[in-house]
């Protein structure tokens, strides 16, 4: 989450879309968007429906250890005899809400700080920017790993660590947008009419910032999921016996010849992240190209 | 350089469509050496596209029909390779904003000499000498030192002069100037316009001056054509078109100049109304 190429003016029309739930605008009717939406929707439903579709309890161990996929266990069983299929389905309930939570929180924290920095300037701006620089001085996963280790391994701490690593991106982008808008005529006019700084920020600047930031967030969901599962893979996230895709793959490394242990959770991650990436990419393309270029340089690890 | 007699380029019934939308609906225009042909109009009228069409620089997905006759060669339908030989060598273009039309990371010298060497196949030293001479002729101070500098180290007016020097480095017969002074400070515009007029007079350059600014037009153009929605609605010598316009649209353009409520009755009125550019010779 990078780049602060601020545009001269923001195209308001493209940011304010009237809700037409049944008819998708033409830009969305690309095969990529449709595939992405379908898969994402499927996963969300799997996560919501949860226990209703699990053939077995993901936590129940059995004596049938490390069995290859069969009619009884579609994805086979793991080293403790648990059904892999159920565990993969159950993993959605961990990854999807947490990824969404992470993105929302990073967006809120990052965008707020960025807006404040951009709007109020001077030492506030300097301080916030220095902190941003510092966080971005580390590659993402490394810093997340380091913070999560310092905090202690738990899912909550993993999300916290990921949050600490992710907010600077939003901060930078928002700050750039706000800086550009701050000197717009209508903002200055309202200030002359007596708007205080906070009111000006809230009513004049923020509504136009929301659009690109939301697009950035949507592009980020996939990255968030990757980061969280990466942390779990390292043992810094989900604790056993929680069914989480990253930690399942970590266990699979020990028994790599039992291919079903690692392949299916991985496929789950790939399809989920791909779906959100397709959606986000289409969303970005559907925007006015000027806004699209700000939002472009989104991902890192 | 001997200037040919008669039009050096004749555009006949030029029609351009971009991605299905008709931009030019049949343009007839000709340029004669030593004369500045003005092409006026509001934004969206297609005047810039006309210039780009001559050079074959239209956006992708455009269709062109009609003919652009350059002393015997029809430019419409040439391959890109063939067009490359024409561009910069026989027809050149100067763009509106010199802060974006010059490459920020290449020295002025590099931008001046690369096409000289490509078109004229001369040695590096010869190209350099030619470039320095060009810079001198557009009145860039200390041309030798300027060669090593970068565009951002020059003022806006100087940058546009450099752009003109680049355009004319291979001695084309035709120069298309697209809003050459619009991005410049008012005080600097007169100098650049004077330069263009001098180039036409002294070098026999045929100039297509595209601008929305009627003041600029009145200052140096010999003939004026007014465009609207892809068509030329009126064309003729400057005095006729600007002082006694025949077409309503031209009248409304003139009337929209600030302070024109009393109407314009002479070229001086126009000049007084629009930007304060000096009267520059060449009126017919």
């Amino acid at each position: 989450m990078t780049q602060a190429t601020a545009p001269a003016e923001l195209p308001i029309e493209s940011l304010v879309r009237r809700r037409r739930w049944l008819r998708l605008p033409p830009a969305w009717r690309t095969p990529l968007a449709v595939i992405g939406a379908t898969i994402a929707l499927a996963w969300v439903i799997i996560a919501l429906v949860g226990p209703l579709i699990w053939p077995y309890n993901p936590l129940t161990q059995s004596a049938h250890l490390l069995q290859a996929p069969s009619a009884v266990h579609w994805f086979g069983t793991d080293e403790l005899g648990r059904d892999v299929f159920s565990r993969v389905l159950a993993g959605a309930r961990v990854t999807i809400p947490l990824a969404l939570l992470l993105v929302i929180m990073s967006m809120l924290v990052g965008a707020s700080l960025g807006a404040i920095a951009g709007f109020f300037g001077r030492w506030v701006d300097e301080t916030i920017m220095r902190i941003t620089d510092l966080v971005m001085a580390f590659p993402t996963v490394i810093l997340a790993m380091v913070v999560a280790a310092a905090l202690g391994p738990s899912l909550f701490n993993a999300v916290l660590a990921a949050l600490i690593v992710s907010w600077p991106g939003y901060c930078r982008v928002t700050r750039g947008l706000v800086l550009a808008l701050r000197n717009a005529d209508y903002v200055l006019a309202n200030r002359l009419l007596g708007y205080g700084p906070w009111r000006s920020l809230r009513l004049d600047v923020l509504p136009n910032v929301v659009g690109p930031v939301l697009v950035l967030a949507s592009l980020d969901i996939g990255t968030a999921a990757l980061l969280l599962s990466g942390l779990s893979f390292l043992g810094l996230g989900a604790k056993p016996p929680t069914a989480e895709w990253g930690s399942m793959i970590s266990d699979a490394v020990q028994n790599f010849s039992d291919w079903w242990l690692g392949v299916f959770p991985g496929l789950a991650i790939v399809t989920l992240v791909m779906a959100f990436n397709f959606l986000g990419d289409t969303l970005r393309d559907a925007l006015d190209p000027r806004t699209a270029s700000i939002v472009g340089k989104a991902e890192q690890v | 350089m001997s200037a040919p007699v008669g039009p050096v380029i004749t555009i006949t019934d030029l029609r351009v469509a971009i991605a299905g939308t008709q931009i030019l609906r049949g343009i007839d225009l000709s340029l004669t050496s030593g004369r500045i042909q003005g092409l006026a109009g509001e934004s969206g009228s297609g005047k810039t596209m006309t210039g780009l069409a001559v050079l074959g620089l239209l956006p992708p997905r455009s269709t062109v029909s009609g003919s652009i006759d350059l002393t015997g060669t029809d430019l419409v339908g040439l391959t890109p390779k063939q067009m490359n030989l024409i561009r910069g060598r026989r027809v050149s273009m100067v763009f509106q904003d010199p802060s974006t039309s010059l490459h920020p990371m290449l020295s002025v010298g590099a931008q001046l000499t690369d096409h000289i060497r490509y078109h004229l196949k001369v040695s590096r030293t010869q190209a350099r000498g030619r470039a320095i001479a060009m810079l001198a002729s557009v009145r860039i101070p200390e041309p030798e030192a300027a060669m090593k500098r970068f565009p951002h180290q020059f003022s806006g007016g100087q940058r546009q002069r450099i752009a003109i020097a680049i355009a004319l480095a291979c001695e084309p017969a035709i120069l298309i100037a697209d809003e050459p002074t619009t991005a410049l400070d008012v005080t600097v515009q007169a100098g650049v316009l004077r330069l263009l007029r001098a180039l036409a007079d002294d070098m026999g350059l045929a100039v297509l001056l595209i601008t929305h600014d009627l003041g600029v037009m009145s200052a140096i153009a010999d003939d004026v054509a007014v465009m609207r929605a892809g068509l030329i609605v009126e064309a003729g010598p400057r005095g006729d078109v600007l002082v006694t316009p025949a077409h309503d649209y031209t009248r409304s353009l003139l009337a929209s100049l600030p302070g024109a409520t009393g109407g314009v009755s002479s070229l001086e009125d126009i000049r007084a109304l629009a930007e304060p550019t000096d009267a520059i010779g060449g009126a017919r």
Partner: protein, 388 residues
């Protein structure tokens, strides 16, 4: 105030907000600064140095500040964040022995005020004391020393390969915009960045080694081989230097699969963003002006487009390197590659805090250095950046 330079994406000297951003790089916009090269205004008081040298000194200053910041971060995470720093750094066993804990507290001044603690931490760092690994019971510094060359061998190969492939694909995709090749590459790179590196590592190890037997097993060398005499620590290079061809072949074979896995993600990243960078430059006026001069496309591409896009592309490569370093953590353990990534993985899963911090600090410093080099190159490529 940040102004016009941002309006020329692809051509503006970006202040690289994407990475260890130069903290206060003043934006240079067209028209904002009209300065000639350092011309002596008065014979006696000549401007002391070339603008490039001044720019470099400034960047160096910023990097040093960031370096201090990095140590501050690791300090905070080592001593402040853990609820019980002694236990976290010494391990469960030693942490319950009050004498050891007391010695630890005394050495790191955990009872002293914070700033003093930090100074002590810095002093220790400068003496090469990064603590002792809870796993190996060796000083972290020496552990890192043996691990670093292994990772460098991987990372260097991967970054060179990813850059070559990624940037070419990106350029190709951009100039063939909208056509089948472009669409295809876009989808491929989208999928590429959706695949978790650790999973790809596992999968490719399984397929290419276990099932297909194309790739050799884990580790840097086959069990029967001995490492070449140590010169650089890079087995391939050292084997070449010693003339041990079979060792070289073996080392290279082992290098291939991990390198390809690391490359996969990075190529996707680079393709996508190189494409955007080039597209932005293609829209610029100066490209059109260059074509108007009659220069053939290949010259326009090389001289005008690529040069302008080089700045954002360099940024991307710097970022990609950071991403690679992260990737090693996820990948090395799968291949039993004894680099800092595997070290970090072991440290993370066993909560070896000194080990983790050591890796974090090291990677932070390397990343800083990479970004500093990128900054250097900016100054060389883009003359506008040198003017302050």
């Amino acid at each position: 105030m940040r102004r016009s330079s941002r309006h020329q994406p692809g051509t503006a000297a970006p202040s690289r907000e994407d990475a260890a951003a130069p903290a206060g790089l003043p934006p240079v916009g067209a028209g904002e600064v009209i300065a000639t090269a350092a011309v002596p205004t008065d014979g006696a008081k000549v401007r002391s140095s070339h603008p490039l040298a001044r720019y470099l000194r400034r960047r160096l200053g910023v990097s040093v500040l960031l370096l201090i910041g990095v140590t501050l971060v690791t300090f905070l995470l080592t001593n402040l964040v853990p609820s019980n720093p002694a236990v976290a750094n010494l391990g469960q066993q030693a942490g319950s022995d009050p004498k050891v804990v007391a010695a630890f507290n005394a050495k790191y001044g955990l009872n002293r005020p914070l700033p003093v603690q930090y100074v002590i931490y810095l002093k220790n760092l400068l003496h090469g004391d990064l603590g002792t690994s809870l796993l190996t019971h060796q000083p972290v510094l020496s552990d890192l020393g043996t691990a670093i060359p292994a990772t460098m061998e991987l990372a260097l190969g991967a970054i060179v390969l990813s850059t070559l492939i990624g940037v070419s694909f990106g350029v190709f995709s951009a100039i063939r915009r909208g056509r089948a090749v472009d669409q295809g590459l876009r989808v491929i790179s989208l999928i590429g960045i959706s695949v978790p590196t650790f999973w790809l590592a596992l999968l490719s190890y399984y397929i290419f080694y276990y099932k297909l037997n194309i790739a050799p097993g884990s580790g840097r060398l086959s069990p029967t081989m001995t490492p070449p005499p140590h010169v650089t620590g890079l087995y391939t290079v050292d084997a070449l230097l010693a003339g041990q061809w079979s060792t070289f072949a073996d080392a290279a074979a082992h290098l291939m699969l991990p390198t390809l896995v690391l490359t996969a993600y990075t190529v996707g990243l680079l393709t996508r963003f190189t494409r955007s960078a080039i597209l932005e430059v293609l829209d610029q006026d100066f490209v059109r002006a260059a074509r108007a001069k009659g220069l053939p496309s290949r010259i326009v591409l090389r001289r005008y487009v690529l040069r302008a896009a080089l700045v954002p592309i360099l940024t991307l490569i710097g970022l990609a390197f950071g991403s690679l370093l992260s990737g090693t953590v996820l990948v090395e353990s799968v291949f039993a590659w004894p680099g800092i990534g595997a070290y970090a993985y072991q440290a993370a899963s066993h909560l070896d805090l000194p080990g983790i911090m050591g890796v974090g600090l090291f990677v932070g410093i390397v990343f800083l250095a990479v970004n500093f080099i990128v900054d250097l190159l900016y100054g060389v490529i883009d003359p506008r950046v040198r003017v302050s």
